[in-house]
């Protein structure tokens, strides 16, 4: 059984949002909600200025807080590590939205909760997720963490540094950010606030 993961090399990402648009198309994500979005941040000031382009989506956490809180079992984790929602069971109670520390989940207008699926339907056909397939800078890699020769394993091995979002929460994300542009790693909103207060 594979253990799917994604890596995004932030030293290559230009924040063009091709992935976000591909996702919208592929998954017919309704207006106003997003499986995938880009966060763009400036940190520092000339001559020490960094811009971080950071695509965000469900990280398919290895230890997903969104799953145990679900009262109906609609939110579940597959053996291959994908965290998915069974819309037939979902009562749209929002417990999983509350539990997800990454704003990855939303209420689909049809009355259930949705989010990034790692393109489970494409994986079945042996294709990479739409965002990976479309990325013009080739900064996105995907594959089986347990296979040392998978693109994602290789990218992780070769990266100068590897970060995940909010690691302190113990969610063990399986979306890795490689080579974050800032020396301090992934940027946080509190850094932006600090700058504003200086």
């Amino acid at each position: 059984m594979p253990r799917y993961a994604m890596a995004i090399d932030l030293s290559l990402c230009v924040g063009c949002a091709a992935c976000a648009v591909a996702c919208k198309m592929e998954n017919q994500v309704p207006p106003g909600v997003f499986n995938l979005w880009i966060r763009e941040r400036e940190v520092g000031a000339y001559p020490d200025l960094t811009v971080e382009f950071r695509p965000e989506q469900c990280l398919h956490c290895e230890n997903p807080p969104c799953v145990p809180v679900c009262p109906t079992g609609a939110s579940y984790q597959r053996e291959d590590g994908l965290v998915l929602v069974d819309p037939r069971r979902c009562i749209a109670c929002g417990a999983c939205i509350a539990a997800c520390p990454y704003d990855a989940r939303y209420l689909h207008p049809a009355g259930y909760v949705e989010k990034c699926t790692f393109c489970a339907h494409r994986l079945e056909r042996g294709q990479a997720p739409a965002c990976v397939a479309t990325c013009p800078t080739f900064c996105r890699t995907f594959g089986d963490l347990d296979d040392p020769e998978s693109p994602v394993s290789r990218a992780l091995r070769e990266a100068g540094r590897v970060d995940v979002l909010r690691p302190e929460l113990g969610t063990r994300p399986k979306l890795f950010y490689l080579n974050a542009p800032s020396k301090r790693g992934l940027t946080q909103e509190r850094q932006v606030k600090e700058v504003r207060h200086d």
């Binding site: 966060r39 763009e40 109906t72 509350a98 209420l107 606030k193």
Partner: protein, 253 residues
């Protein structure tokens, strides 16, 4: 500066209708506890409060269903077709449903009284505990810390005793003052249990209202005619406010 292409799904996910439920479920759980205790004591008012428990549980369950965007998909049946002991809401569903059953039987005078009263007691404790837990389990939400697990049961009982006092249950006033006093003390200490960041957010988003609710709550120690109202409104306000402002992810993203 932070900018986006698209947006994180960071909007409010629980709305005023959910805040209403957080108040109603407090009343439902509290009334159920009261009814169970009165039955166990053989009190003459037991039946009256059993009816109230029945009504508030039904009202809350109705609001829960009615406000759910999944209402006409009828997926709520899955609440009772799955075993999810790690989910506070799952516990709440069973606690309220079985509480409804037990109070119904008690009200109709069917079945063994004592065991039913004990069952209702158990269900009421679940119903009282789960809303605070449903918030506190979200480790990523800085405002919903462990104190929620205490403030919610306490304010639920205060709500209930407020209603009881309004119904001229003279006995309700003393416990109301005690429990609302405890709720207010916790609510007063609560900001001190938060990180400076989270405290700042509470202050920005609800600071004045929070202060006003605490002040209003002090009214419970004043005139007897005013006390039940002050207790009820402060308890309800606190629950609604915490549910609403706590939908915040913090600054770690």
């Amino acid at each position: 500066m932070t900018e986006f292409y698209g947006l994180p799904n960071a909007g409010e996910f629980w709305h005023w209708t959910n805040a209403l439920h957080f108040v109603l479920v407090g009343l439902a759980g509290g009334m159920a506890l009261l009814a169970a205790l009165l039955h166990l004591k053989g009190h003459e008012e037991a039946r009256r409060y059993t009816l109230l428990a029945l009504l508030f549980i039904a009202l809350d369950l109705f609001v829960l269903w009615a406000e759910s965007p999944a209402r006409f998909r009828f997926s709520h049946a899955w609440l009772f077709l799955s075993f999810q002991p790690a989910s506070p809401i799952w516990w709440g569903a069973w606690g309220l449903a079985l509480g409804f059953l037990a109070s119904g039987l008690l009200y109709l005078g069917r079945g063994p009284r004592k065991p039913l009263a004990w069952a209702l007691l158990l269900c009421s404790l679940v119903a009282l505990a789960y809303p605070g837990m449903a918030l506190a389990v979200n480790a990523g939400r800085p405002l919903w810390n462990a104190l929620m697990a205490g403030i919610f049961p306490l304010t639920a009982l205060a709500l209930t005793l407020g209603v009881a006092a309004l119904l001229r249950g003279v006995w309700a006033l003393y416990p109301l003052r005690l429990l609302l006093g405890a709720s207010l003390l916790l609510a007063f200490l609560y900001p001190l249990t938060l990180s400076p960041e989270a405290r700042g957010h509470l202050w920005e988003e609800g600071g004045i209202l929070y202060g006003l609710i605490l002040l209003l709550g002090l009214g419970v120690f004043w005139r007897e005619r005013l006390a039940p109202w002050a207790g009820f409104l402060a308890a309800a306000g606190l629950r609604a406010l915490l549910a609403m402002v706590g939908q915040w992810q913090g600054l770690g993203l």
